[in-house]
C-alpha cells in the first residue's frame, strides 16, 4: 500500500471513533430520559416491587451513583460490548442482536443488489427511449412505487402471490421442520427471500431508475458520445459500455448513503413477513416494552451504518485515487 493510501485509510478509521462515542453518549442520554429506570421495571416484573427491594436493585446496577459515574460505567461496558440484559428474555442484548443480524444483512444486501441492478437496467432503457411511450410508462410506474408504503406493498404481495396464486411463501425464512441442508437449504431461504427482498427493494428500484435515467441523459450530451457515434458504434454498445460506466457514479454514491434508510425499511418489511432479523426484534421489543433491547438495537444498527459508510468510502478511495489526495 502506498503511503498516501495508508494515511487515507488511517484517517478514515480514526474519524469513526468520535462518531461511535457520540452514538453511545446519545444512547445513554435516551436511556436516562425514559420514565422509570431498569430497577423499577425489573422489580415490577419480579412481583415484589417494595421500595427496599427496588433500592437494592438500584445499588446493584449502580443507578444510585452520580450521573457522570453512571455514564463512565455505561461507556466502559460498551467497550466490552456489554449492552446489558434484555429485561424480559433474560438474555444478554448483544447475543439477541448478533443472533438476528445475519438475517437482516441477507435481506438488505439482496434488496439493494436487486434495486441497483434492476434500477440501472430500467433507467438505461428509459433514457434510450426518452420522451417515448415506454419512457413515460416507466416514469409513471416509478412515481407510483415511490409513493407506496413498503409494509403495505408487502401485505398486498402476500395477498397476490401467497393467498390468491399460492406460489410463494407468505413469511418466515425457511420451511419449518423441513430440515434442509446444503444447497437445498440455500434454495429454501432464497425462495422465502423473494417477496421480502422485492418489497424492500422496489422503493429503491424507483429511486435508482430515476437517477440512472437522469444521469444517462446527462452523459449522452457529452462529446465522447458524439465521437462514439461518429465512429459508427451501435447505440447498444454506446449505451451499455461507454455511457453506463460514466453514468454509474451517482447511483453508487446514493446506494452508499442509503444504508441507514434501508435498515429502517427492513424493520417494517421484516415485521410483515416474519423475517427473523433485527427489524422483527424491534417489533418484539416494542410489544414487550423492552427498552434496553430497543436501545441496544439502535446502537448496533447505527454502528453498522457507520461501518458500512466507512467501507464504501474506503472502496471509493481505492477505486478513485483522486479522493485519497483530497
Amino acid at each position: 500500500m502506498k503511503k498516501a493510501t495508508f494515511q487515507f485509510v488511517l484517517r478514515r478509521l480514526l474519524q469513526v471513533v468520535p462518531v461511535v462515542l457520540a452514538i453511545a453518549a446519545f444512547n445513554f442520554l435516551l436511556l436516562r430520559m425514559a420514565p422509570g429506570d431498569a430497577a423499577d421495571i425489573l422489580a415490577g416484573q419480579m412481583g415484589h416491587a417494595t421500595v427496599e427491594f427496588t433500592e437494592q436493585l438500584r445499588r446493584e446496577f449502580g443507578l444510585d451513583r452520580p450521573l457522570y459515574q453512571q455514564f463512565f460505567i455505561y461507556m466502559g461496558k460498551l467497550l466490552t460490548l456489554d449492552l446489558g440484559m434484555s429485561h424480559l428474555q433474560q438474555t444478554p442484548v448483544v447475543d439477541l442482536i448478533v443472533d438476528r443480524l445475519p438475517a437482516t444483512l441477507i435481506l438488505m444486501v439482496s434488496a439493494i443488489l436487486l434495486a441497483v441492478i434492476v434500477g440501472i437496467c430500467i433507467g438505461i432503457a428509459a433514457a434510450r427511449r426518452q420522451g417515448r411511450l415506454a419512457d413515460n410508462l416507466i416514469s409513471v410506474a416509478a412515481l407510483l412505487v415511490y409513493a407506496t408504503p413498503a409494509f403495505w406493498l408487502g401485505l398486498m404481495l402476500i395477498v397476490l402471490f401467497s393467498i390468491k396464486l399460492d406460489i410463494l411463501p407468505s413469511g418466515g425464512m425457511m420451511q419449518i421442520g423441513a430440515g434442509h441442508e446444503g444447497l437445498a437449504h440455500v434454495l429454501d431461504v432464497t425462495w422465502h427471500l423473494i417477496l421480502p427482498a422485492t418489497t424492500l427493494g422496489l422503493f429503491y428500484v424507483a429511486i435508482y431508475t430515476r437517477l440512472m435515467r437522469a444521469s444517462m441523459l446527462e452523459v449522452y450530451g457529452l462529446d465522447f458520445i458524439v465521437t462514439a457515434r461518429a465512429k459508427g458504434l451501435s447505440e447498444g454498445v454506446i449505451a451499455w459500455t461507454h455511457a453506463m460506466r460514466n453514468a454509474l457514479l451517482p447511483v453508487v454514491t446514493l446506494a452508499g448513503v442509503q444504508i441507514g434508510h434501508l435498515l429502517g425499511g427492513s424493520v417494517l418489511v421484516e415485521t410483515v413477513f416474519g423475517w427473523p432479523g433485527l427489524g422483527r426484534l424491534v417489533f418484539d421489543a416494542l410489544l414487550q416494552r423492552d427498552l434496553n433491547l430497543l436501545l441496544g438495537i439502535l446502537f448496533i444498527s447505527s454502528v453498522v451504518v457507520v461501518i458500512a459508510n466507512l467501507v464504501v468510502d474506503l472502496v471509493y478511495g481505492l477505486l478513485d485515487p483522486r479522493i485519497v489526495h483530497r
Binding site: 462518531v19 457520540a22 452514538i23 446519545f26 435516551l30 430520559m33 425514559a34 420514565p35 412515481l143 407510483l144 415511490y146 409513493a147 407506496t148 408504503p149 413498503a150 409494509f151 403495505w152 401485505l155 398486498m156 402476500i158 395477498v159 393467498i163 437522469a214 441523459l217 446527462e218 448513503v257 441507514g260 434508510h261 435498515l263 429502517g264 425499511g265 424493520v267 417494517l268 415485521t271 410483515v272 424491534v282 417489533f283 416494542l286 410489544l287 416494552r289 427498552l291 430497543l294 436501545l295 438495537i297 439502535l298 444498527s301 447505527s302 451504518v305 457507520v306 459508510n309
Partner: protein, 278 residues
C-alpha cells in the same frame, strides 16, 4: 401579484403537478370536511364485522364492526396533520441551524455540521421508533420524533444556500451600512434561500406521512386516534379472509403521498426554473 402569476404560469406547465394539486385538494377537503359531513365515530361498533364494501356501509366494516369510511376520513386528518406539522418543525429546526452554520462558518459551522452528520448515521426510522416508544405514543411525540429524524437534510440544504449568499455584494452592502446579523439572515438572505427549501420541505410532508403510517402500523400511533397505518395494522391479521380491509387505507396513503410528491415537483419547476434541466 405578477410574481404569483409567473409562478402559476410555470407551475401549470407541469401537468402532473396540476393533477397532484387537484388530488391533494380533494384529499384535504375529505379530511377536513369528511368527519363533519359523515359524523360516524370511527371507534364505534356500528354493524356486523367483515361487512363488504358497498353493502350496508360505503367501505364496509372492519374486524370489530367499525365503519371503515369513518376511519379513512378521520385517519386522513391525523396523517395530514402529523405530516404537515412534522415537516414544518423539521424545516424550522433545519433552517435555523443551517442558516447559522452557513452564515457564520468556522467553528459553529463545524460543530453544527458534525451534529448533522451524526444524525444522518443513525437509522432514522429506528430512532423514530425508539423515541416514540420511550415517550409514549401521542400526536405530539410522533410529530416530534419525525421532526427529529428529518431536520438534518434541511439543515444541509439551508447551509449550502447561506454559504452561497453570504459573500454576495448585496450582503456586503448590508454589512457596510451596519445592519445587524439577524436582520441580514432573516430579512435579506432568507427570502433568496427559501425556494429550494420550500420544495424540500413540501416533499418532506410525503416522507413524514409514510413514516407516520409505518409507526402506527407497528402500534406506535396515538391510541385515541384512528390513522391509516393503524387501520392496516388491524387488518393485517385478517389478510387471508378480508384483504380489502388492508388495501383501502393503503391506497389512501399511496394517493396522498403521490399527490404531495407531484405538487413538490411542480413547486420545484415553478420556484427554481434555472435548476430545471432533467
Amino acid at each position: 401579484m405578477r410574481r404569483l402569476a409567473t409562478f402559476w404560469l410555470r407551475y401549470r406547465r407541469n401537468r402532473g403537478a396540476v393533477a397532484g394539486a387537484l388530488a391533494l385538494a380533494v384529499i384535504l377537503a375529505l379530511a377536513l370536511l369528511g368527519p363533519i359531513l359523515y359524523p360516524t365515530d370511527p371507534f364505534d361498533m356500528v354493524g356486523r364485522p367483515f361487512s363488504l364494501p358497498f353493502d350496508r356501509f360505503p367501505l364496509g366494516t372492519d374486524v370489530a364492526g367499525r365503519d371503515i369510511l369513518a376511519g379513512i376520513l378521520n385517519g386522513g386528518r391525523v396523517s395530514l396533520l402529523i405530516g404537515v406539522l412534522a415537516s414544518l418543525s423539521a424545516t424550522i429546526i433545519g433552517v435555523a441551524l443551517g442558516a447559522v452554520a452557513g452564515y457564520y462558518g468556522g467553528r459553529i459551522d463545524d460543530l453544527l455540521m458534525r451534529t448533522t452528520e451524526f444524525f444522518l448515521c443513525i437509522p432514522s426510522f429506528v430512532l423514530a421508533v425508539v423515541l416514540v416508544a420511550i415517550f409514549q405514543p401521542s400526536v405530539v411525540t410522533v410529530t416530534v420524533a419525525i421532526a427529529v429524524v428529518s431536520w438534518p437534510s434541511v439543515a444541509r440544504l439551508a447551509r449550502g444556500e447561506f454559504i452561497a449568499h453570504r459573500d454576495r455584494e448585496y450582503v456586503q452592502g448590508c454589512r457596510a451600512i451596519g445592519m445587524p446579523d439577524w436582520e441580514i439572515i432573516l430579512l435579506q438572505i432568507m427570502p433568496n434561500a427559501l425556494p429550494p427549501i420550500i420544495v424540500v420541505s413540501s416533499l418532506m410532508v410525503a416522507t413524514a406521512i409514510l413514516t407516520e403510517s409505518g409507526l402506527s402500523f407497528l402500534g406506535l400511533g396515538d391510541p385515541n386516534l384512528v390513522s391509516w397505518g393503524y387501520m392496516i395494522g388491524v387488518a393485517r391479521t385478517v389478510l387471508r379472509t378480508a384483504w380489502w380491509m388492508a388495501a383501502i387505507p393503503g391506497v389512501m396513503i399511496l394517493l396522498t403521498v403521490l399527490a404531495i410528491n407531484l405538487v413538490g415537483e411542480g413547486l420545484n419547476d415553478a420556484l427554481n426554473p434555472r435548476l430545471r434541466k432533467r
